[in-house]
Each structure stands twice: as structure tokens, then as C-alpha cells.
Point group: C2
Chain length 381, copies 2
């Protein structure tokens, strides 16, 4: 039985060639003073920074800058940016980058109007009441943050990397020009593909009996598995970049949850531990965690895994064969599928165990408890 749901995605998505030309007008609708948030300099090297500064100046905007958002973003950066935005009374936030920058901007948008850390939203010590409007320009196809209300941040003091979602976190508008992703290197392109496939699976293995939503989820995964490898052989093919960018957007669009009780997200929680401990890129952490999780749940999810494989590979295959083929796929696109491949050995088992505990790796649909951690960690080795 399908669950009740509300479908409402207030973000206006501009997709395609040269859509950035509409950015200044979109920003100006919210005011003159913009907090321009970006990462560690790749947009400066690519020239995008200059292009945007030029556009904003032409439009007569006053720009307050906050650069240097780290990948695997941390709440300290978001808090510092929010402090700046609060002091300078910005009207609107412009986030230019990948998931790290845009997720940070979502929390900055909530934090500017209040007098506490953005982590208080994660810790459920505070509820957002308002947000500074935020507009996103995406430069990396991966997380789907551009049309959803979720933000993932780390808090190293608490040893946690966690996701937070609130209606007020939807970007007002998102600009996706696939040309901006042409310079993404091969490894990060592969991590993005892995990330979007992992999002499909987290929703597929979520709770709830949906048929059409499942078909859409597997359609997105198939799209990524068909065009992903081609893109990795042709990094400057704008058409392939477009297809992967759109697939990444849909993979964590609220659409993939309609009629479901929830996604699962244990694999993301496991991956977050790797990112916390070893700064593993998010996509790479998922390709290590997913095969382990699938093997751990191979028995109880036998039919469901086999159905996924049979749908994706269009061949009647078993759960075991599905796991093997997915692992092979991740390996073939250049992603690690074992901790040993990223230089993490058996001496880290204890640290991982403690990480699983402090990051509360519980699972959504398929529950995981502390006794399960050693076996899950073993599968990742």
C-alpha cells in the first residue's frame, strides 16, 4: 500500500546551456546584498568566480564573500559564514559549487536569522522559523542537493556527520549548466556517479510498498550505469555531462520518495564515518559501504536485491549475482570497494567501530545495532 505524501518542490530549476545568464535577475528579486559562498578555489581557477563577480557587479549587487567551504563540509564554516551574513545584513545567499557548498549554504540560510550554531538544528535543540533565500549554482553532478531540502554537515567535536532536512532548506532557484561540470576530474566524476546510484539504492531499500516510485528509481540508476562509464571515457562530452547531471538531480529529488515510508540511509551513515575519520570523498565512501551492507543483508533482502539486479541488468539474476555485478560496476568506474584499496587496514577496526557508535549507524528500514558493526566492518575490509 502506498503511503500518503505531499509533493511540493518549490525550487525553480534552470537546466542547460548558458542558463547562468538569468542568474543576476533571479538574485536581484531578493535584494541588493548577496552573500557569495564558495569552496576551496576551483571556481577561481576555472574562471567561474570572475564571471559571476562580473555579472553581479553589472547588476549592481553588493557582494559579501565567503570562500573556503571545505569538502566534507563542517559546521564551523557554516557558522562563520552565517556570522558574516548576519553582520552584513545580506538579502540573499548565492552558493556556487558542489554538494558541500550548497549544503553549507542551506544551513547558513537557517543560521543567519538566529543566535546559535547551525548544529543546533541537527541536534534538535532548535527549529528553523525562517531562512535567508538561497540560490544555487551547481558545478558537480552528485548529491542532488539542488532540488531537495537536505544538508549534510560534519561536527568533528561531536564525531558526527549527519543529514538534516527542512522545508526552508530548498534553494529558491538552482542553476545547472552541464558545461560547468566539464572540468571535473575523472575520479570525482566517478564518485558523483557512484553517489547518485547510491541515492537510488537508499530509496529503493527504504520502507514502503511503491511500484511507480521504484520504477523511477531504477530508471535513474540504469541511466547512470549506462551513461556513466561512457562519460568517464569522454569527460568533455557535454551531452553525457548533461545526462549524468540530470540523473544526479533526480536521484535525490523528493520524487524518489513519494509513497514510501522512508529511505534506508544506513550506507550513507557508514560512509559518513569513513569521511569523518579519513576524509574519504563521499562517493568513494559509499562504494566501499554498499557492497558490505548488501552482503550483510543478503538473506533478509534476498528477493528485493535480486529484483533490483534483474531490473537494472535486464536479466533474471540472484541477489548474490546482483551484489557481484554492482561491485564490479563500481570497481570498473574506478571507485574503491574495499577499505584496503584506500589504505585502511585491520588496525582501524576499533576506530571504525567507535565511529559507527558515535555516528549512530542505525539504519532506516533495515535496523542495525552495535552487535552488527563488527561484521559490517569486516565486509568493508
Amino acid at each position: 500500500m502506498m503511503e500518503n505524501f505531499t509533493a511540493y518542490i518549490p525550487t525553480k530549476l534552470h537546466f542547460g546551456k548558458e542558463v547562468l545568464s538569468e542568474l543576476p535577475v533571479s538574485l536581484a528579486a531578493y535584494g541588493k546584498r548577496v552573500l557569495f559562498v564558495y569552496g576551496k578555489g576551483s571556481i577561481i581557477r576555472s574562471g567561474l568566480y570572475d564571471r559571476i563577480m562580473h555579472m553581479l557587479t553589472e547588476e549592481g549587487m553588493e557582494v559579501v564573500e565567503f570562500g573556503g567551504i571545505r569538502s566534507n563540509p563542517v559546521v564551523e564554516d557554516a557558522d562563520a559564514a552565517a556570522k558574516l551574513g548576519r553582520e552584513r545584513h545580506v538579502d540573499v545567499i548565492l552558493a556556487v559549487g558542489g554538494g558541500s557548498v550548497i549544503d553549507s549554504a542551506k544551513i547558513i540560510a537557517l543560521t543567519i536569522p538566529v543566535n546559535h550554531s547551525g548544529w543546533d538544528f541537527y541536534a534538535k535543540k532548535a527549529k528553523p522559523r525562517q531562512a535567508v533565500p538561497m540560490i544555487a549554482v551547481l558545478t558537480l553532478a552528485a548529491t542532488g542537493t539542488e532540488t531537495n531540502p537536505f544538508a549534510v554537515l560534519s561536527n568533528h567535536t561531536e564525531g558526527k556527520k549527519d543529514g538534516y532536512g527542512h522545508f526552508l532548506c530548498f534553494p529558491k532557484e538552482s542553476f545547472l549548466d552541464p558545461a560547468l561540470t566539464l572540468s571535473v576530474p575523472k575520479n570525482y566524476t566517478a564518485y558523483g556517479i557512484a553517489d547518485l546510484i547510491a541515492h537510488c539504492f537508499e530509496m529503493y531499500f527504504g520502507a514502503g510498498d511503491t511500484s511507480l516510485t521504484d520504477r523511477i528509481i531504477t530508471s535513474i540508476a540504469r541511466e547512470a550505469m549506462e551513461y556513466g562509464p561512457r562519460l568517464l571515457d569522454n569527460l568533455y562530452d557535454i551531452d553525457l555531462r548533461s545526462r549524468i547531471m540530470y540523473a544526479a538531480t533526480l536521484a535525490l529529488n523528493p520524487l524518489t520518495g513519494y509513497g514510501k515510508v522512508s529511505g534506508d540511509w544506513a550506507v550513507h551513515a557508514m560512509g559518513h564515518v569513513l569521511s569523518l575519520l579519513y576524509d574519504t570523498p563521499h562517493g568513494a565512501s559509499l562504494t566501499i559501504a554498499y557492497p558490505a551492507w548488501l552482503r550483510f543483508f543478503e538473506k533478509p533482502l534476498n528477493n528485493r536485491i535480486a529484483a533490483l539486479g534483474s531490473e537494472i541488468f535486464r536479466e533474471n539474476i540472484t541477489a548474490a549475482e546482483t551484489i557481484l555485478r554492482l561491485e564490479t560496476f563500481f570497481r570498473n568506474i574506478g571507485c574503491p570497494v574495499r577499505l584496503s584499496e584506500i589504505g585502511i587496514g585491520a588496525d582501524q577496526k576499533e576506530a571504525l567501530f567507535r565511529g559507527f557508535i558515535s555516528n549512530e549507524v542505525n539504519g532506516g528500514n533495515m535496523k542495525i545495532s552495535t552487535e552488527d558493526y563488527p561484521r559490517l566492518i569486516e565486509w568493508m575490509m
Copy 2:
């Protein structure tokens, strides 16, 4: 190559059991005076009319009623309702019914603020500048109007049935409780299933090179073809009603067009002629028109038709086999696939020919001209 697109669906969709309980609050957000638009009395017989009147009265709303919107709706009804709404200064429109009522309400919403017929928007004599907010309660799974900006009306004076689309036509909110469709009789349930499948095909055969959008389109068609026949054997199964209702919503949601140049819509134009001349139910007109259109274009669209069939039926089949199976599917769910089955004989060829001309059956992606009409009509006989 994917085309640029803007994804923005401002409608808030409430889907599931008892969602109607939220209706009064949603309406009241727009004001006190509501224009309550409905059809020819099925909501009175079902008790929905009383239920809604009770809810509105409890909320302290002032209700202005316009009942009697005809199926295959005509612009005269919309104009009359708009006149009433204008005179009574309504704040918001509540449309309760199927596609006919909701499509009419979209045009009523545009027409209330102006001093001319709603047909002027279709005839491109007028451009909308504002609209009265409109909230829809859907009682028939079929047209997808609940989350799109399109409205189909007939103008018998001009011998035209046409679609119109404008951003201002999106409902502000749509309420879809599958329980409200439980009493839809078998034939109209089948027409709704046919209609939603036809929407998938109109988009599939549209112009543009999209892969993920095509996968989503065929996913929706497969959903309808799997659960549609089951529903027809179990009309009171709420779970099957839910699945078909959601499929119908997505089938003509803007999502199925992202990255495409356009849909085709020739089959709808052909079907509209049947509805104009013989008041044929919309869904039934499409199951007659589609096989004819597919046979007409079997050669130029050979690969595309075969790919559709192979994807939908999960078997490598030819274009000819695809057409045959689709026709068989429509026949098996109780829909007519030839004019003869609805009592229209060869003596109507001339009338149909003139209808094709006055209704401008041109085709979107696959062009059709006057010389093609006799063969298309022959295929429908």
C-alpha cells in the same frame, strides 16, 4: 542532445487517504469567498458535495456555486462560471471533479479578471496577466491536469477542441484521495487508464533526444499496463486505485517533458475531433486514434515504435508487433479501437475529414497534412 528546460511545478499535491481534511485551511489562506465549480451531479450522488459544503461552512467560507460543467467541456460553461465569479468577487476557486471540471476551472481562473471570453486565450487574442487562485479536488484518475498548466476546452461554434497551457493555470494545490475514485464505473476507469497511457506515448513520440525522461515515461506506461487490468477486475481495491491515480498524475506532469523539444499530440487532436463530432469520451477517442496513428507512421518511426514495445513488454519485438499488442491491450481493457465499435460508419468519413481540417490536426513532431487525413481516417474505421 537534451534541450534546456526549466523545472518548476508550483502546485502542492496532497496525495492519499483523507487528505481532504486539509482542504478548508488551504482554501481559507486565499480568502473567504469561494467559487465552487463541479460537474453534472456525480459528486452530489456520491455525497462528496455535502461533505465539502459542510467543511466549507464549518470554516466560515462563503460559497458561490457553479455546477453543471459538461464532460468534453465547452467554453460557454467556463465563461458563464467566470461571469458569476467576477460578479460575486470570489477570492478563490474550488474545482471538484475530473479533467473537465478542473480544466474549466483553469480557464475560469484566467477569465474572471478580464472582460472577454476564455476562448480568446486559445485563439491567441489575449494573454493572461493574472489568475484567481484555484484549488482542485480530483475524482477521476486520467488527465493529469492536477499538476500541470494545461486545459482542454471545446468551442462548438468554431468546431474546435484545443489545449491551452500557461504558467498561471497550475492549481495552487491539488487534493488526490484515491478513495474518491472508488465509485468510477468500469468503462470510465478504463478510459482513464487509456488516457494516461496515451499521454505517455504523446511525450515518448515527441521531439528531442532524452534518455532519462523516456525511461520515466515508459515506467509510467508499464505501471498503468500492469495495474490497470488488475484494477478493472477489482474496482473497489483502494491500493490499485492509488497506483493508477498516481500514474495518471505523473503521466502528464511536466516531468515527462524535461529535456524534450515538445510532445507530439496529433493523436489527441484526432481524438478531439471524435469528441467534438460524437461526444466520444476522451479516453475512448484516444484508443481509436492511437493504433491508426501508429500504423500511419509505422515506417518512419519503425525503430522508435519497436524500442517502445521492447521496453514496455520486456521482449525484443518489432514495430508491427508493438502496435498489435497495444491494440490488444486497449481492447482487453474494454476500450474501442475502431470507429465501427462506437457505431460510426463509412458515411462519416467526410465529416471526419472536415473535422480534421477545422481542428487543425497537424502533429507536433511527426507532421500531418490534409492529404494524410483520408489514410488516417481509413485506419480508424
